[in-house]
Amino acid sequence: MNVRQIEQIILNNTYTKSDFLKRLTIIREYLEAKFFTDSQLSFSDFLDKLKVSLYEREALIRFDDSFFGLFTKDNLYQLIKGLTENLKSLPLLTLYTPVMLDDLQLDELGKWFRQNLNPELIMDIRINPLLVSGCAYVWKGKYKDLSLHFFLSRKQAIISKIIESFVHENL
């Protein structure tokens, strides 16, 4: 099993870059404890020990023994390094939101983008309060604005008409 395949398993329920790196770190720590210490903790106990959130736990608990069996003492760091470097080559979508959405909402967004843009993309979430509402994203070097500004601009003619009719009636 190569890096690519492990990557696919992780990406199955990981949609953001930060989640990918966080989960890879947890996997590495668990495997380091397993290979290089006397720790006999199961992955579930290890997660309890780390006091990860419920959301993380639900995402990570899918990694079963067969997944961890892909790693050995010898190939652990090689695989980790390969996975980290492969992350840079994944199709990246930088998503700008006005507020920090919760994990479930981000997962939903990730699923949506993978369904409609690229099944392998990974999101990089950035916060931009100036968007007020909606979102904006950068995909393949192009910026797409789906914020309040964008929708107001589309309706500018209608808004101008409303203002003009108000002015004619009242001024």
């Binding site: 507020v99 959405l101 939903e108 509402s133 500018q156």
Partner: protein, 232 residues
């Protein structure tokens, strides 16, 4: 003048006679002194001389008296003549004066009369002229007033028209300016309406939208872009 000359001659003669007598007296007295005792007995020549001198003196005196008498006579005559002449002159002068006064009165009366005639004629002429002038003045004044009224009316109408057109132009200009100002303001508002609304909504909605609302808006906008095939 002649009187003065005559008086001068008389005085001259009197003076000469007196001088001659004085010289004779001096000569005779001087001679008596010179002769003294040796000459107590005058001779015939000296007697003759004395007689001659005495005759001369007597003649001179006679001449002098005659001359004086002549002179007096002449003077009297002259005085009488002059008195007569003066009387004649005075009477003639009086006559002339009366004549002249008469003539002057007549002339004056004539002058009065002709002056009165002239004055009455002049008065009539003046009255006629005055009447004619008054009529002419009236006519001219009426004409002038009519012309002035016409000109004033035309001027007033012209001014009214100009003022009216100026006011209308000003009003039109002002209306245009107001319209252009409104239009410009609307254009400015229209061009910045998105930013205005954005800032307004940012202030109004910023802390009012929940995470769920934000999520819903994001998904709605993504779906809309997908339906419009404008995802990328």
């Amino acid at each position: 003048m002649e009187n003065n000359l005559l008086i001068f001659l008389l005085l001259t003669l009197t003076l000469i006679t007196a001088t001659t007598q004085i010289i004779l007296f001096i000569y005779l007295t001087g001679k008596n002194r010179k002769s003294g005792p040796a000459e107590d007995f005058p001779d015939a020549t000296e007697e003759k001389n004395a007689e001659i001198l005495h005759d001369a003196i007597l003649k001179a005196n006679k001449i002098l008296v005659n001359a004086e008498l002549k002179g007096i006579e002449y003077i009297s005559k002259r005085k009488l003549d002059s008195e007569k002449f003066f009387g004649d002159y005075q009477s003639q002068i009086s006559q002339l004066e009366e004549k002249l006064l008469k003539q002057f009165d007549q002339t004056l009366a004539k002058m009065d009369q002709s002056f009165a005639v002239y004055m009455s004629g002049l008065e009539k002429k003046l009255l006629t002229e005055e009447e004619a002038n008054r009529k002419l003045f009236q006519e001219k004044t009426l004409k002038l007033m009519e012309n002035s009224q016409t000109l004033m009316q035309a001027f007033i109408n012209e001014i009214n028209g100009k003022i009216k057109s100026q006011i209308e132009d000003e009003l039109t200009g002002v209306k245009n300016e107001i319209y252009n100002y409104k239009k410009k303001r609307l254009e400015i508002i229209n061009s910045n309406i998105v930013d205005i609304l954005e800032q307004t909504l940012e202030q109004a909605l910023g802390k009012k939208l929940s995470l769920a609302d934000h999520s819903e808006i994001i998904f709605t906008s993504l779906e809309q872009a997908k339906n419009e095939h404008s995802l990328m």
